[in-house]
Symmetry: C2
Subunit: 305 residues, 2 copies
């Protein structure tokens, strides 16, 4: 039983999580903690080390980690954790790992691995997982293996261009999917059009859209259209079987997915592109932990890289 | 010496080619013939069989084939060879192969493999080869292996969306790179703008652009911009090191590549995207044969699929 137990870690801008994961992808025990709001890198590391220690036990044979990107040579600089710039996360974890393998990936890649192994992407040979929340991230899993890219940054669908003359993106580019479809951009667009709410965030935008608010609906339609265009481009490039959309804004369900699917169908002409299915992710906020667990198990099996 | 010799075949809409290729990627002997203009599938096969027989000899240990796409389960339906629809090209070649392995890929994938192995993509771990001619095709080579996709159609950069409200594409989609940047579309746009030539084709358009014709220059600039946008999207998705542009229209050189690079730089914001280099392909019309040879050698080494 415990032969296949691994430790999964998920590092995000608002919360940290650690879990024991069995070989079937089930989370046996999970601990979560808020990510400290601080400019002290060590304070965040201490919080993470604490929850890892709470979960770790003798049965754990490998450690898998998903962390916000970008990263380079296993040094992480998560956009949403400004205190960590080139932080040596994998090395730190290895120091406490007593020789057990430690595998680090972008959190969107971990999410995609989780969904492909145990969620919405099962059976898919060519799979894209997308996270639409504060940013728009993505991960590719081809023939069961995550696509990392030479610098570990493959899968960044958030920076696929969907409107060449569109808004400037935080990355410095223009018209990126993320500049249009990330939660804060969707909310900002709605506010510009006259939408208001006591707490004008993604959650209340989705609630108002459900209640029929025309501006909130239009904001999700605009984001969904951008998503569908980027998905059509990616499906053509990679002959994808399935694309699963997760992250906070995917709580909008069909209010986001229906316009995404309509745009996908408008732009996907070739038969092999049209066969790709666009679905909502299945594992919710657990996807990153499940995927980090799978990555750790692949490392044990010698199946990574 | 002859231990590594393979036979490479390149099937295109205007010409057929077969060559002996050594393990260093050198073409030892090449035979070319025009593709018969006919609606008789067997007539085209007979022409191909003839040049293959001319080149084949006892030293040949495997056969690699690049053929215009799309394809499905090794049945080819090249857009530019209307007589072949679901034509069993691999099976036919296997019948004459006396047990030697036969590997079939989209021609753009073969071109990309050739450029990555022996041309502009050497050293690249994540490489995209693009062919801009009658259509716009592409092939991806990641860590030395071509990316095929579940239906063999990965790499279709021609159907990445570069202008969501742009022209309808022959594929049925809208705003695809191919709809804007394929040779005939570039020529048609120039003619619409008032350009004329005794023979209004890509070759004379490039010649006129070289001579300073403002419409011809604008047509190549427009195509280059579309190319740069699609390249920025693909580099973000796949963390590419190098993109090489070949095909007939790449004869325009910097008249196409400079606006492509400018657009790439406008849209590539993240550091890992900006590091990707956009270059002209190195092997010219031989790239497909060289790549088909490499694919055959990989099959011998057991390195394919």
């Amino acid at each position: 039983m415990s032969a296949g137990v691994v430790l999964a870690v998920d590092v995000g801008g608002t919360k940290l999580a650690a879990a024991l994961v069995d070989s079937g992808g089930a989370l046996l025990r999970t601990v979560r903690a808020p990510t400290p709001v601080t400019d002290n890198a060590e304070e965040i590391w201490a919080a993470l080390e604490t929850i890892v220690a709470e979960v770790d036990d003798d049965a754990v044979r490998a450690i898998g980690v998903g962390c916000g990107g970008p990263m380079r040579d296993e040094l992480v600089s998560p956009l949403n954790i400004s205190a960590w710039r080139d932080f040596p996360l994998a090395d730190r974890l290895r120091q406490g790992a007593r020789g057990r393998p430690v595998v680090l990936r972008n959190d969107a890649i971990a999410m995609a691995v989780g969904e492909q192994s145990h969620g919405a992407g099962r059976q898919a040979r060519a799979f894209l997982g997308i996270v639409v929340s504060t940013g728009v991230g993505g991960g590719l899993v081809i023939d069961g293996h995550p696509v990392d890219g030479p610098t570990g940054n493959a899968g960044h669908i958030g920076h696929v261009v969907v409107d060449a003359d569109g808004p400037v993106c935080a990355c410095g580019g223009r018209g990126c999917l993320e500049a249009i479809a990330r939660g804060p951009a969707v909310v900002a667009w709605a506010v510009e059009q006259g939408w208001s709410a006591p707490q004008p965030d993604g959650r209340s935008l989705v609630a108002d859209a459900r209640a029929g608010d025309p501006i909130a609906l239009a904001a999700l339609t605009r984001a969904g259209r951008a998503l569908g265009i980027a998905c059509a481009s990616t499906a053509a490039l990679l002959d994808l079987d399935v694309i699963a959309v997760g992250g906070g804004l995917s709580a909008a369900g069909d209010l986001l997915l229906a316009p995404a699917t309509a745009a996908f169908e408008r732009h996907a002409g070739m038969e092999f592109v049209r066969r790709c299915r666009l679905v909502v992710a299945a594992l919710g906020t657990d996807a990153g932990l499940v995927g980090a667990g799978v990555l750790a198990q692949q490392a044990l099996a010698g199946g990574t890289d």
